[in-house]
Structure formats: C-alpha cells, structure tokens
C-alpha cells in the first residue's frame, strides 16, 4: 500500500518535471502566467492610492491564480492535441496520478511566481510582511488550490485555443469578485455571497492576515479548510471529467 503510494507520488513528480522542462518557458505560459497578473494589476491600480497591506496579498494571490493555472491550460490540451497525452494513458498510471502530476507542475510554477511577485511587492515603500511563516503557508495553499482549479478547467478541452479563453475568463472574474481589488466589506451583499464561493477569497484573506499581522485564528482555519476542500473538489471533478473523456 505504502509502496504503491510512493510509486504513484514519484510518477506524479516525474510528470511535473517533464511539464516543467517543456512548458515553463512556452509563450502562452509566460503571457498568461507571468505577465497577465502584472498587466491586470497595473491596469486597475495605477492612479489609485491603495493600502500597501492590500497590494501584497492581492498581487501574490493573483499571480498564484494565473501562474498555477496557466501551465495546465497549456499542457493538458496541447498534449491531447499532439497525442502525447496517450503516452500517459497507456502507461501504468492511474488517472488520479496523471491529474496530480499535471497539477504539480502548476503548483511549483505558482509558488515560483508568487515568490517573485512578493519580492517585487516588498520593494514598494512601507511594504512588509508581519508573519512570513503564515504568508509562506498561504502561498503553498493558494498554489495547491489554483493548480487543482487549473487542471479542473482544462481537462475537458482537446486544444489550446479552446481551453485558454474560458480559463482566462474564469480567473479574471475571480479576481474582480474575490477581494483582490475591492475589499469584501465594500461589496454589495449578494456579491459577498458569490465571493465566499470562490477560492481566491480565502487565499487573499489568509495572505492579508499574514501581511498585516492581524490574525484571527477562526478565520484562518476557515481559509485553510476552504482551500483544501476546494482542491479536493477540483481534483475529484478533473479525474471524473478525464475518465468521461475516455468513454
């Protein structure tokens, strides 16, 4: 049992390594993963006097959302179009391991981008992170959730041009509804309800608490539990969708 689990984890890591070699520096990944968060942020924050304690969590959560998801929106449909995905299907790997492997690539890219954007944000005057450990935990959980979301969104598609528009639309909508630019408290009631259904809301909240140092234990537990729950749901849906596409 443990041996099988170890073998599956290793195979998932190998899939992630392979994806990193092939897709990390591909054009669409750079555009949608690396540059898109910066462009959106600049477009909506230039000229506004935003509190720096809101800038850091917003920017980092957004970079994780785009970074962790972009690689899957590219890798999964592209491999299906080229036929290389069949190599994975014909190999002795469970569908869940394939999904986890695909998500792992996004997970690492998401963490890498989050750290990059965090460093840039920390260069702003007065910027500081009060609880770095919690912030790191927030980055890891965000990357996990958003990579699972990325796999979930891209599994049904068999080509990149099909996969990219809905993936980008979903992420952009999340950014505007999830408290990145507008604090939840400033939103109308029904939009607040919508925000609580989005994983980015919990990521922003956890990163914000880590940045300001104003910790609310109960809220943190909810944030962490919500992100883990979202990740599980996304993985289960992605595996089910993949299974369905083989019928």
């Amino acid at each position: 049992m443990i041996e099988t689990l170890k073998e599956n984890v290793l195979k998932a890591v190998h899939i992630a390594e392979k994806d990193a070699k092939i897709y990390f520096f591909k054009g669409p990944n750079i555009t949608f993963g690396l540059l898109f968060p910066a462009i959106i942020y600049l477009a909506f924050s230039v000229g506004r006097t935003a509190d720096v304690s809101l800038v850091i969590p917003g920017l980092v959560a957004m970079s994780s959302l785009f970074g962790a998801g972009a690689i899957e929106s590219l890798a999964l449909p592209l491999e299906r179009a080229k036929g290389t995905f069949d190599r994975l299907l014909a190999a002795p790997i469970s569908l869940t391991t394939i999904i986890v492997g695909k998500a792992l690539g996004g997970f690492f890219f998401g963490i890498f981008l989050s750290i990059g954007y965090m460093v840039i944000a920390l260069l702003l005057p007065g910027a500081a992170i009060a609880n770095p450990l919690l912030f790191a935990f927030g980055i890891v959980l965000s990357a996990l959730t958003f990579s699972a979301l990325g796999v979930c969104i891209s599994t049904p598609f068999r080509d990149v041009p099909q996969a990219m528009p809905p993936a980008t639309l979903i992420r952009v909508a999340m950014v505007f509804l999830g408290g990145v630019f507008i604090p939840l408290s400033a939103m109308p009631g029904f939009l607040q309800l919508v925000a609580y259904l989005l994983p980015i809301t919990y990521a922003v909240d956890m990163l914000q608490q880590a940045t300001t140092g104003q910790i609310f234990a109960q809220a943190l537990v909810i944030d962490a539990a919500a992100m883990i729950l979202f990740s599980i749901i996304f993985f289960v849906i992605a595996t089910a969708v993949l299974k369905r596409t083989l019928r």
Partner: protein, 293 residues
C-alpha cells in the same frame, strides 16, 4: 499455449458510430498476431481499448491476465504501445524521452540509463541523444517511439500500423526488429492494412471490417481460401439498381462498386464470363459494345 490477450463481446460506440462490434479475440503468448483491415475498420479503436486509452462501451478484455477495465495499471505494466503516429515529446531530447518513459514504468535509475543507452545504440540514435526530437526525421521519430515502448522490456507489444508512411530502410528495420523481438519471447499484436505485411510478419491474422471480425486464421490458410475465389472487374454505363441485378446472378457471390467499376467475386471465372456477357446483352442492348468492356 496461454492466452495473453482475450476479449469477449468487446464493443466501442462513439455516438451513433459503432467502431468495434462484439469483438471476440484470443492471442496466444509468444505469437505475432495481426489485425488486418481497411482504414476505419476499427483496428486503432481495438488497440486503444486493449491498452487502456479508451474505455469499452461493453464487453470484457484481459491483457497479460489482468482485466483492462478493473486492473488497468497491472495490465499496462506488462505492455508496450506504439501508436500509428509517433507521439514522443518533440520539445525534449531523445535521451530525456526514454528516461521519462522508463520513469513511468518504474524502471530503477541505473537500469533505465543502461537500457536507454542500449536502445539508442540499437536504433542508431545514440549520437543524437542530446538533440531535441523536433529536428528528427519521421523515421527517427518512429524508431524513438519504438525504443520508448521497449524501455521496460514488455511481455506484449502493441503496434498500430507500425510501418505506415516510412521509408524503405526504416520499414525493413522495423519488420526485422518485430521478428527479433518475437524470437526473444515478446508477443506482438499489430494492426495493418497491408496484406503483404501481415503475411510476412504474422503467425495468425484476424480480418476486421466495419468493427467486426470477419475471420481469424493463419496467413497460408487465409490465402488458400482467397485463392478459391476469383475476382472479375467490369465497367458498365451507370444504371439504376445495377449492383442488385448483378447480385442476382447465380455465378456471382459478392459485388462491390469501385468508382465506375463493379468488382465481382465469383467461384469460377470461366463460367461467370459468359453469364456476364448475357447479362450485358440483356440490360444494355442498345449500347452493347460501347458500354461493356
């Protein structure tokens, strides 16, 4: 001899299209088995089902004594798959492709490096091992795809149209390799639409058409049964119901239309030709001589 592949009522339906219909097959351990049929006959779908790349709509299949639906991972550990189109990662080097393939089959690190070197040398790709596959010729990509399928020393090898679109040199090399692998104990399940290829390589052939197995036998027996039948090709001026009228002739066992020609299967050509002349006189009176040739 033990069965290494066994299917019962294996069926695959894509929407309204019945790609594979109630397939019953048995492949013995150690043989080269060929699935022969025209394009769209269901050959690739059969391989995809047997290798876990698509789920059957109904029926059962065991591969290397493991149910492909309920124990797919165990079944897949025993097999190597070579698809009709080379599907290696073009962005990676030949070496990285083989190492990745070995990792998917849990081949230990030392063993996989040794095996990758052996295979690259065997396929004449060792000098190009660090090059990205994108720059390889079609034949080289094909060889690398085969090498990747052999990295874990499979008991059973599935090859879908293995020589399709290859130059003569690569074609010969692959046919020789298939025979050598079989001599080393690897069971081979291949698909082809070339009757000569099936004849040269296979110990048994299943002929598949429109998703159904027409017959399964040794190449020699199949050829003997084919030789009993003779084919006449005739061309008539287009006429409504011509195919049905020809089918009504007692000397004709089957009719297929090929463009402006009718291909007639007959038991004895010398008896059939006079009947056909009579048929032409009767149905094409005014144009006889011009339309019948």
């Amino acid at each position: 001899m033990n069965s290494i592949v066994k299917t019962q009522g294996l069926t695959k339906q894509y929407g309204d299209v019945l790609a594979v219909d109630n397939l019953d097959l048995e492949v013995s351990e150690g043989e080269i088995f060929g699935l022969l049929g025209p394009n769209g006959a269901g050959k690739t779908t059969t391989i995809r089902m047997l290798t876990g790349q698509t789920t059957p709509t109904s029926g059962t299949a065991t591969v290397a004594n493991h149910d492909i639906i309920h124990q797919p991972t165990k079944a897949k550990q025993q097999i190597g798959v070579i698809p009709d189109i080379s599907n290696i990662y073009e962005e990676m080097s030949a070496w990285d492709n083989l190492i990745f393939a070995a990792q998917l089959y849990s081949v230990p690190k030392i063993e996989r490096e040794k095996r990758a070197k052996e295979l690259l040398e065997l396929f004449g790709l060792y000098e190009r091992r660090k090059d990205r596959v994108a720059g390889f010729s079609r034949g080289m990509k094909r060889r690398l795809t085969i090498a990747a399928a052999l990295i874990h020393k499979p008991k059973l090898l599935f090859l879908d149209e293995p020589t399709s679109g290859l130059d003569v040199q690569s074609l010969r090399m692959i046919r020789t390799l298939i025979k050598e692998l079989n001599e080393d104990g690897v069971t081979v399940f291949l698909t082809t639409h070339h009757i000569e290829e099936a004849d040269q390589l296979c110990q048994r052939i299943a002929i598949i058409n429109k998703g159904k197995i027409v017959t399964v036998d040794t190449p020699e027996r199949l050829k003997a049964s084919m030789e009993k039948r003779q084919v006449i090709e005739v061309s008539f001026t287009a006429s409504r119901g011509l195919e049905d009228k020809l089918k009504g002739l007692s000397c004709v066992t089957d009719v297929s239309m090929l463009g402006d020609k009718c291909r007639l299967q007959v038991d004895e050509a010398s008896e059939a030709v006079p009947s056909l002349v009579d048929f032409a006189r009767k149905h094409f009176k005014s144009k006889f001589g011009r339309s019948f040739r």
